[in-house]
């Protein structure tokens, strides 16, 4: 066997350009290098994180006290719709796909994705989809029917401005791009692994990406189909989701959530993967129960395709369906709980290094578990009836998505930034970033559980001065601004450390997986050769020939 899996038909266009080390704009635009594309994904999601964050602060200002008048009612609707859509489709998913495109080839000892051009195509679809979404502000009005755009509110008679058309078209572009990335990642993982790297030995991050990609290709078409139907409803006056023509708004809910629930797992599985890499490395112990972590992911993936209607308990589907979907939803807690035990057990008795990356991983365990618990509560139908459409749901989704996914992304960024840039992120600034995020996050969202139980509905632009509501909302708003500061600290850290951070070297954390076997940042061709893979920790085996994993 000789070197090379750069497939001959997919030689990077930008290869020659980069070889001469000209980092011109063209070298980015024309690039099909998975690392460059991944960095663009990450920068894109950072950019939209800024926009979505500003929208969040606007909402929190408006809600800081009863009767504020910073946003108009319609303006508020537009802002919360843009916030949700941005954070889900342009921040969480692209940041995870960015990490996946950067790391998957490196972790399996390959030099490229299976289809480098398709990879670039996917990225540009996501970027232009995002820009199109924001163009709606100039094209009349932003969409205003929430991130799930319930019909008939999203239909022409109720929302006649162009906002929802922009929403549908841009999400279609993003949806198609995301499916293409899913295909690309699956094929990469199945066909391009280095010799010896069986699926029982790949890093857990790769496992999660694999399951995740299957969810993407099977669940996103539901979104694409629904968006097309909504779009023709609006453009060609068809009747899929309008009652006037006999159509069914309820069908939109079923279709949307049969995408929407798998989507929430699409947004968290790679996060599970990230902390399954960082926790073992910073605890200096191999992951506890590798097989369980991988198998429970498959279980989650399968289950998540069959529980969508738990978002629709308030619709009145009837007792039997409510019970079925409630029970199925509770089942998901089992494989999820298995994972929490695995991660905790990995830390138990380990020589834990409390780096910023590890802090974020630990915080993930705490906040994600809380979010999971409120999720299980909703699965009990009467509790859902009581809390649906209140701030309790807002608290739940932020505990799982911010306290879960985004914390894991931060853990991953502190861990892999040295690989991507060659510089270590400042631990001092990182500690500030972490504590501000952790405190700001809990200050913003913990109290929203109480607000929700007290009956405060979500998606309202203001509220009456009921006892305690003003002060609780004010606390939440202050927390949001603490979070805002934490983001500034993070950006500053990225900038300063990139400019003059400590040099990382190939393997700053003494980690064990293949991405650390090449230089930091890796050359255009990731590997000329990879170490022999005889276990899950090839770099451990290399460093400890007297005690390799495969002899244990």
């Amino acid at each position: 066997m000789s070197d090379i899996p750069i497939p001959a038909d997919s030689l990077p266009v930008a290869a020659e350009i980069e070889a001469e080390n000209k980092r011109s704009l063209l070298s980015w635009v024309a690039s099909v290098d998975h690392k460059q594309i991944a960095v663009m994904y990450l920068l894109t999601s950072l950019f939209f994180f800024g926009l979505g964050g500003i929208e969040a602060l606007l909402m929190r200002l408006q809600l800081a006290w009863p009767g504020m008048a910073i946003l108009s009612p319609d303006g508020y609707n537009q802002i919360f719709t843009m916030h949700g859509t941005t954070m889900i489709f342009l921040v969480v998913v692209p940041s995870l796909l960015g990490l996946a495109t950067y790391l998957t080839p490196l972790m399996i000892g390959a030099n490229e994705m299976a289809f480098p051009r398709l990879n670039a195509f996917s990225y540009w679809l996501v970027l232009f989809g995002g820009l199109l979404l924001y163009f709606s502000f100039f094209g009349g009005a932003a969409p205003n029917a929430g991130w799930f755009s319930y019909a008939p509110l999203s239909e022409k008679p109720y929302s006649f401005q162009a906002g929802l058309d922009y929403w549908a078209v841009s999400l279609l572009a993003i949806g198609v791009g995301t499916v293409a990335t899913g295909l690309n990642l699956i094929v990469t993982i199945i066909t391009l692994r280095a010799p010896g790297l069986s699926l029982k030995r790949v890093g857990l991050f790769v496992w999660m990406v694999l399951v995740n990609s299957f969810l993407i290709i099977l669940a996103l078409p539901a979104l694409n189909a629904s968006l097309l139907m909504l779009l023709v409803d609006r453009q060609l006056s068809t009747h899929f989701f309008t009652q006037q023509g006999g159509g069914s708004p309820l069908l939109w809910q079923h279709y949307f959530w049969s995408f929407g629930h798998p989507e929430v797992y699409i947004m968290v599985l790679p996060g599970f993967g990230i902390i399954s890499e960082t926790i073992p490395v910073f605890s200096r112990q191999p992951i506890f129960g590798y097989g369980f972590v991988a198998a429970s992911t498959v279980a989650i993936g399968l289950l998540s395709l069959g529980v969508w209607a738990h978002h629709m308990f308030a619709v009145g589907m009837g007792h039997r369906w409510d019970m079925t979907f409630g029970a199925a939803s509770m089942l998901i807690a089992i494989p999820t709980g298995v994972k929490i035990f695995n991660w905790t057990a990995t830390m138990y008795g380990g020589a834990i290094r409390f780096t910023t990356s590890m802090w974020f991983a630990i915080a993930f365990l705490i906040t994600f578990t809380m979010g999971g618990l409120s999720g299980v509560m909703f699965a009990a139908v009467p509790i859902d009836w009581q809390t649906t459409d209140t701030y309790f749901v807002v608290a739940h989704m932020h505990y799982v998505l911010f306290g879960g996914t985004l914390f894991s992304v931060f853990s991953g960024l502190y861990y892999w930034f040295p690989k991507m840039s060659g510089k270590i992120l400042s631990e001092k600034l990182g500690r500030w970033h972490f504590w501000l995020t952790f405190i700001g996050f809990n200050m913003t969202f913990l109290i929203q559980h109480v607000l929700g139980l007290a009956g405060m509905p979500r998606r309202i632009f203001t509220y009456p001065a009921l006892p305690g509501w003003g002060i609780m909302n004010l606390i939440s708003t202050i927390g949001a601004f603490v979070l805002g500061i934490s983001v500034v600290v993070f950006l500053w850290n990225l900038y300063v450390s990139f400019q003059r951070g400590e040099l990382a070297g190939d393997n700053p954390w003494n980690a064990w997986t293949l991405e650390w076997a090449t230089s930091s940042p890796p050359p255009l061709q990731n590997f000329k050769a990879v170490p022999p893979v005889r276990s899950r920790r090839p770099l451990w085996d290399l460093a400890h020939p007297e005690d390799p994993d495969w002899k244990r």
Binding site: M1, S2, D3, I4, P5, P7, A8, D9, G109, A110, N111, A114, F115, V179, G182, L183, N184, I186, V187, I190, T191, L192, R193, A194, P195, G196, L197, S198, I217, L218, A219, L220, P221, A222, N224, A225, S226, L228, M229, V232, L236, S237, T238, H239, F240, G245, G246, G247, S248, L251, Y255, F527, K528, A529, V530, P531, P532, L542, P545
Partner: protein, 196 residues
């Protein structure tokens, strides 16, 4: 320390392009599943105006359907000829496939014109919406398939076959089979089941 091993590809036996097309087909199947489901779901709701039973022409469409089905066979024959290095056979079967695809599109256009003549449009009622939605989406896929087949043909005619030509032909033909299968489902549901 052990020496580094050279890097290579493990699962060399799996052809990546064909794997990708297979996965893409799985993804597209769920996409069509939702459209077909919408058609079936709304079928019971249509009480007045044009319906499948009083507007469609199952017999003539059945004939055009036969052409599309047969084109699945011819594209397979084209692939077989290519494997046997029989260039003429390959060209002939490929051209026949494209021609039969075009015949199908012609048939679909005629059916559409019939319907439009009777003021059955996509916005007329739920039947129009779901019928044109589903068959139109399939039609677009037929056009995509024909475009791909034509590209394959063009490459051969300009004698510009690369080393992966065979794989390309096999991938396109997988996709073409899929377009046919979707039509079998659509025809069964729309023309056979809902016209009763």
């Amino acid at each position: 320390m052990e020496a580094l091993t050279d890097i290579g590809v493990v699962a060399g036996s799996i052809e990546k392009t064909k794997l990708c097309v297979a996965l893409f087909i799985a993804s597209e199947s769920t996409f069509f599943g939702y459209l077909i489901l919408a058609y079936v779901y709304f079928h019971g709701f249509i009480s007045s105006g044009p319906t499948a039973a009083n507007s469609l022409h199952p017999a003539s469409t059945g004939v055009y359907t036969a052409f599309l089905m047969a084109s699945s066979g011819t594209v397979w024959l084209a692939g077989r000829s290519l494997r046997k290095q029989n260039r003429r056979g390959f060209l002939v079967w490929l051209c026949i496939t494209i021609a039969m695809g075009l015949v199908f599109l012609y048939g679909e256009t005629r059916e559409y014109l019939h319907l439009l003549d009777q003021q059955v449009t996509i916005s007329r009622n739920l039947f129009g919406t779901t019928y044109f939605g589903l068959t139109g989406m399939h039609g677009i896929h037929v056009i995509i398939g024909l475009t791909l087949l034509s590209i394959i043909l063009g490459i051969d005619l300009t004698k510009d076959r690369g080393p992966r030509y065979q794989v390309a032909v096999e991938s396109v033909s997988m996709y073409w089979h899929f377009v046919d299968c979707v039509w079998i489902a659509v025809f069964s549901v729309v023309y056979l089941w809902s016209t009763r």
